[in-house]
């Protein structure tokens, strides 16, 4: 599937592109004014972001790391306990369950990527009427409060009065209490997660699709490729940087899932052991059991897991991501 691209992307078109870039850059540099080269300006522009990162990300990360080696009192004050929190964490019977649940959720959440690509491709077809309206509709869940989303979906999934079961009833299917059945609860939540995240992913894929030069697709037409062949041999490979970006972000987001689980299930839900994610475990330890040090250890374990998975993804990208 790569040979088509190999032929086309190394052809004169891309050279021409590169040439244009070369011409432009030196031109603008020559006209650059003094202040732009002063490091003061750089600091001024980077400053707000850098300070935000430092205060809201870097510092808390360091604090969490040091906290994970302490036992904290409920109102501050802490004693150093070495690796005790980590030792306890790896003996916690709930950890395995939480890891499995989080992994399941993440895998299901990735199904959202092909769905988003398919929808983006449909929205990108030329001559589609009401394209703007569709795009808005798909983006609405993204700008809706997660709490409101959880509330509405709880009603939809309700076993006795939910609209989903009423719909299934039309076809003679007896529904069930989707959110309290351990077999379906996690899938039900993941579906909401996919639905809620669809809008963002579609926007990214649309941008990716629009970045694919028409000339390549036209060339494929001339070579006699049909729409399916074009989609899989040209569109998908050229979209691979976007797919890579979305999958990295999706995996990180899925590993951190908490709000949907917390708000859709409620505390005394019998399905909790089968839906408790790592962040849920963290919340219970830190905010219910008042064991901040232990919670910090859980948070750090999650950080490591995310780090490792992201590094693996970056390694693997060389095999399938094509940068033009």
């Amino acid at each position: 599937m790569t040979d088509l691209i190999a032929q086309r992307s190394s052809a004169p078109i891309s050279e021409l592109d590169r040439g244009r870039v070369h011409v432009r850059v030196p031109g603008s540099r020559r006209r650059g004014r003094g202040p732009r080269q002063s490091p003061l300006w750089a600091v001024l522009f980077i400053g707000p972001t850098a300070i935000g990162l430092l205060v809201f990300y870097l510092w808390p990360t360091i604090r969490t790391f040091t906290m994970s080696f302490t036992e904290t009192g409920p109102f501050g004050g802490s004693t150093f306990v070495g690796l005790a929190n980590y030792v306890r964490l790896f003996q916690d019977p709930e950890l395995v369950g939480a890891l499995v649940n989080t992994a399941e959720y993440t895998i299901i959440a990735l199904v959202g990527i092909p769905i988003a690509i398919a929808i983006a491709a449909l929205l990108n077809t030329t001559g589609l009427k009401g394209r703007g309206a569709y795009r808005t509709l798909y983006f609405i869940p993204v700008v809706t409060m997660p709490a409101a989303i959880a509330l509405v979906w709880r009603m939809i999934y309700n076993g006795d009065y939910g609209i989903l079961n009423q719909f299934l009833h039309l076809f003679g299917i007896e529904g069930k209490s989707w959110l309290t059945d351990p077999a379906t609860a996690l899938v039900a939540i993941a579906i909401v997660g996919i639905w809620a995240g669809l809008g963002t992913n579609i926007v990214i894929f649309l941008a990716g699709l629009q970045g694919i030069p028409d000339t390549i697709l036209e060339a494929a037409d001339l070579d006699g490729a049909g729409p399916v062949r074009k989609f899989f041999s040209i569109t998908i490979p050229l979209l691979s940087p976007s797919i890579f970006f979305v999958s990295v972000v999706s995996v990180i987001g899925a590993l951190q899932v908490f709000d949907l689980v917390y708000m859709m299930l409620g505390k005394s839900n019998p399905a909790i052991p089968d839906t408790r994610t790592i962040v849920y475990l963290f919340y219970e330890a830190g905010f219910i059991d008042n064991q901040r040090g232990y919670a910090a250890a859980i948070a750090f374990l999650l950080l490591i897991i995310i780090l490792v998975l992201t590094v693996i993804q970056f390694r693997l990208q060389k095999k399938w991501v094509h940068y033009e």
Binding site: S177, P270, N290
Partner: protein, 426 residues
């Protein structure tokens, strides 16, 4: 602890909370450890119930009249965020001067030196229900002045009883009567159930366990009572009601809140606290269809669990003396009278409860006051939320029927005892 109070803590924006709470005591020059100083002082008073804010404001105004130099500013935080915010603010040294306290948190706060003892405020402890005074006494010192209380009763839908031709519940009825009544009221075809046997602690099993002769926690707060056969009986009572089909299943009650089922006429009986009365009275759909009866008696009686809030003073307040004064005042006779007149909660000060009963004459609310006599204290320890989390986790499996009650109680007893032992070590 009302449903409002059930959400003990929520992951909230701790940083924002800390900032919001820093806006506390004003003009502080010199401090005022001596007590009756005359400089101007502003106290912050943290509460979580919007419905009660008008009454709290009246109390603050009454205090200002007596102490013109002290102004009390109310800080309202929704209950879901209240405890997270409070804990963060207190840890950061910027907690409110006076605030509401509940049973599950009192020992945590008192044992960590957050609260100022109120012993020197001449709180008339004999004028409050004994269980409440005990609830807010830690290590022999009174840390909270009881503000209000709630006990549990059985609300029933008269229309559903009439339709099924069943006699209303009355004082002296038993568990067996409850089971029979619930079975008769259940009409599967219409989706109507006799009772909601939900997995609520305060409303259901914290009552049925003492009714069976057991206890949740020993009076010295060191031993769990979950391993006992009596406690098992108290749990089985509810699980059996579900098994008999007289109650919706645990799954149904997770999907739809039991109270919503009661309000929509799908459930004929609901055990709930005195806090619910005002909501029912103001709900045009059911206001005239419902009434309240005492709890049915188990083998050892028909005890209700009693819980109530208290006003506490922050030990690190810049104006401790005034804070303590106000905490005591906001629970005193005059303040209780103000609360009673609004009908929102039952004031803790004895003699003022009548006004609450009379505020909704169509209901037999006196049963809630009668229940105080035999009431058992709300079970708490230093780190209550650790084992209440275990309760929720394990009992949800018991209620769902995936874990046998006996096995579940054994697990719960072990876990809770481990949590209590851990508290003792600290």
């Amino acid at each position: 602890m009302s449903p409002r109070a059930r959400g003990l803590a929520a992951a909230s924006t701790a940083a924002a909370a800390a900032l919001a709470l820093t806006a506390c005591a004003g003009g502080s020059a010199g401090g005022s450890a001596g007590g009756g100083s005359s400089e101007n002082v502003t106290l912050s008073y943290a509460i979580w119930d919007q419905n009660q804010q008008p009454a709290m404001q009246k109390i603050a105004d009454a205090f200002h009249k007596e102490h013109p130099n002290v102004t009390v500013k109310i800080q309202l935080t929704p209950n879901k965020e209240y405890w997270t915010k409070l804990q963060t603010a207190v840890s950061g040294g910027s907690g409110p001067d006076v605030f509401w306290m509940n049973g599950p948190h009192i020992q945590l706060y008192a044992s960590n030196g957050v609260l100022a003892p109120l012993d020197d405020q001449k709180v008339p402890t004999a004028d409050y229900p004994k269980s409440l005074v005990e609830l807010y006494t830690y290590d022999g010192k009174l840390y909270g002045a009881p503000k209000d209380f709630d006990t549990i009763g059985v609300w029933y839908n008269k229309a559903l009883f009439d339709a099924a031709g069943v006699a209303y519940p009355k004082a002296g009825w038993t568990w067996q009567d409850m089971a029979d009544t619930a079975a008769k009221l259940t009409d599967k075809a219409k989706g109507v159930y006799g009772i909601a046997a939900s997995q609520y602690s305060q409303e259901n099993y914290y009552d049925s366990i003492p009714q069976a002769g057991g206890y949740v926690i020993s009076p010295d707060h060191k031993k769990t009572g979950y391993g006992s056969p009596e406690a098992l009986k108290g749990i089985e009572y509810w699980v059996d009601l579900i098994k008999a089909g007289s109650s919706p299943t645990a799954q149904q009650m997770t999907d739809t809140a039991p109270e919503d089922m009661f309000l929509s006429g799908k459930v004929a009986m609901l055990q709930t606290g005195s806090w619910a009365a005002i909501g029912y009275a103001q709900n045009a759909d059911i206001a005239d269809k419902v009434n309240v009866a005492p709890l049915p008696a188990g083998p050892a009686g028909n005890q209700s669990v009693i819980h109530g809030l208290a006003n506490v003073a922050n030990a690190k307040s810049a104006h401790v003396a005034e804070a303590k004064q106000f905490a005591a005042f906001a629970s005193g006779k005059q303040a209780s009278q103000i609360q009673a007149d609004t009908g929102t909660v039952i004031p803790a000060y004895n003699g003022t409860q009548d006004a609450w009963v009379k505020s909704m004459p169509k209901y037999d609310l006196h049963y809630y006051i009668d229940a105080v006599k035999d009431a058992v204290p709300y079970p708490v320890s230093k780190n209550t939320s650790v084992w209440t989390q275990d309760e929720t986790d394990i009992l949800s499996q018991v209620w769902a029927g995936t874990l046998a009650p006996a096995a579940g109680m054994k697990q719960l007893a072990d876990k809770m005892q481990a949590a209590l032992d851990a508290e003792q070590k600290k």
